[in-house]
Amino acid sequence: MYFIDFNCAIGEPMRSERYSTAEGLLQWLDKYQIDCALAYHSEAMREPEMGNALMAQAAAASGGRLKTCFVLNPSLESLGIPGEGTPLERLKKHRPSAVRIFPGEQLYPFDTFYAEEILTLCQQLRLPLIVDCPYDNVFLTQLPQVCRAYPDVPIILLRFLYNRSRQYMPILRKLPNVYLDMSTHIDVGGMEEVVRRFGSEHLLFGSGLPVYEPSGALGLLLYAQISDADRENIASGNFLRLEGGIRYDD
């Protein structure tokens, strides 16, 4: 089975004893028989254009094992995307597989007012958007409005599925453009229940490397009582489908 870990980072600012370099990440993927990872460079949190350029370079040198995720910063005219021209032109040049935002760390609400520019860009490109912030009730109240206003943006939430069934069930039922990281889906039998009731198409495999390691998530997925097709969807198929839907060439 082909595995893509969509939730990884590299760079010294992660301050992890596990690794900081792309080579280190690849060694960790090898330990767990994970084929490929989507990663952002943590230096992009401090210097967005530089950090994102480093990630693009690392991915280009990885022989296809690393995919680029850019960190976007809404206060910069470039949104933190390296190169020349508009943010759209820059994205089309670098063709990242996803972008990631940190509304909590960067002190703005994730809604249609404050995140409008990024959401519009992602809508135009159908570019997967990883939203990394505390998923509090304010966020959860805004999320349906964002999803309905930008229905072509695949919005990905991280480490969300633990003890949040009253939240994730309505999301999976009513918001078709939300995708959930399954790595902490440890409500008992949760994987089987979600797949049976809502399908496997909205779950993604991620580890959180280097902060977390993949073994727990692998245990959940490898031993889940779901079909091989569903397991493959979660391991990589769903992410590949999202990536394949990006419209850089239109």
Partner: protein
């Protein structure tokens, strides 16, 4: 095939495995949710069969409402219904008072399916509570395991260490790797160097950035006890954390069952038959 190789293929392990921290039966309070297909003992055992887990030691879910009589009765009934697969902890609730505590200990210490004592400390009392002290004295005399809940230093590591020091003949199992996060494990580890009867039970590790290999480096593989918190939590997560870790197979076997069986060797309560 190594344990890791088997687990990466999703195969059940054919080594002894004891789940030393469980709560049978459903619980839908405070955000908790279980797939109804797995929310009973038969469902829990279906999950165990996927993994190769032989048995569990449990304090059933009425414990979260401090209903010690019902909790212990439930454990006794489930142990009878599923012999060799379900064992019990004698669950003690301070709010039930000293008389009920004594009666629980008297009644269930004679039942061979009960192998230890369980406190839901933090939520239900601190280590110096007189009822807990009485039950700890009992555990010390019986030389049995005492599983203590803790989360985010409640009850404090210091108070649990004091309890262990004052009761050197019991085996104190500090739950949740010391309290759920790396900082909790790192705070607990130095106490374990000085106090030989403290053990770290591993369940609920989803927020702990330390791997189980990291934890072994801090406390030693002989001080780690496998548990999953089923069915509050899906056992496949912490099972994966151990089975797919970098630890050698001998260490995994110790953590999965051998360490716990060693604790029971000198206990006067029940024994686990594998």
């Amino acid at each position: 095939m190594t344990i890791k190789e088997k687990a990466l293929k999703g195969l059940p392990l054919d080594i002894p495995i004891i789940d030393a921290h469980t709560h049978t039966g459903p619980k839908y309070r405070r955000g908790w949710h279980q797939n109804p297909d797995y929310a009973n003992v038969a469902g829990q055992l279906k999950l165990y069969d996927l993994l190769g887990i032989d048995c569990c030691v449990t304090a059933p879910h009425p414990l979260c409402d401090a209903m010690s009589v019902l909790t212990n009765e439930t454990a006794a009934r489930e142990a009878e219904l599923f012999p060799g697969r379900v064992y019990g902890y004698i669950y003690i609730a301070p709010s039930n008072g000293m008389d009920i505590c004594r009666e629980n200990l008297r009644r269930y210490s004679k039942n061979p399916a009960f192998v230890g004592i369980k406190f839901l400390s933090g939520y239900q009392g601190q280590c110096d509570d007189p009822v807990y002290r009485y039950a700890a004295d009992f555990a010390n005399e019986a030389r049995c395991p005492l599983l203590l809940h803790t989360w985010a230093d409640n009850p404090s590591t210091k108070s649990m260490a004091k309890l262990a020091q004052e009761h050197p003949d019991l085996s104190l199992l500090i739950a949740h790797q010391g309290g759920g996060k790396a900082a909790d494990t790192l705070r607990t580890a130095p106490y374990m160097k000085d106090i030989p009867n403290i053990y770290l039970e591993l369940c609920g590790s989803l927020h702990n950035t330390l791997s189980f290999s990291d934890i072994a480096g801090l406390v030693g593989v002989d001080r780690m006890i496998f548990g999953t918190d089923a069915i509050d939590l899906d056992p496949r997560f912490d099972f994966g954390r151990l089975a797919i870790s970098d630890l050698p197979d001998d260490a995994k076997k110790m953590i999965f069952a051998e360490n716990y069986l060693r604790l029971l060797e000198h206990s006067q309560l029940g024994k686990i038959q594998l």
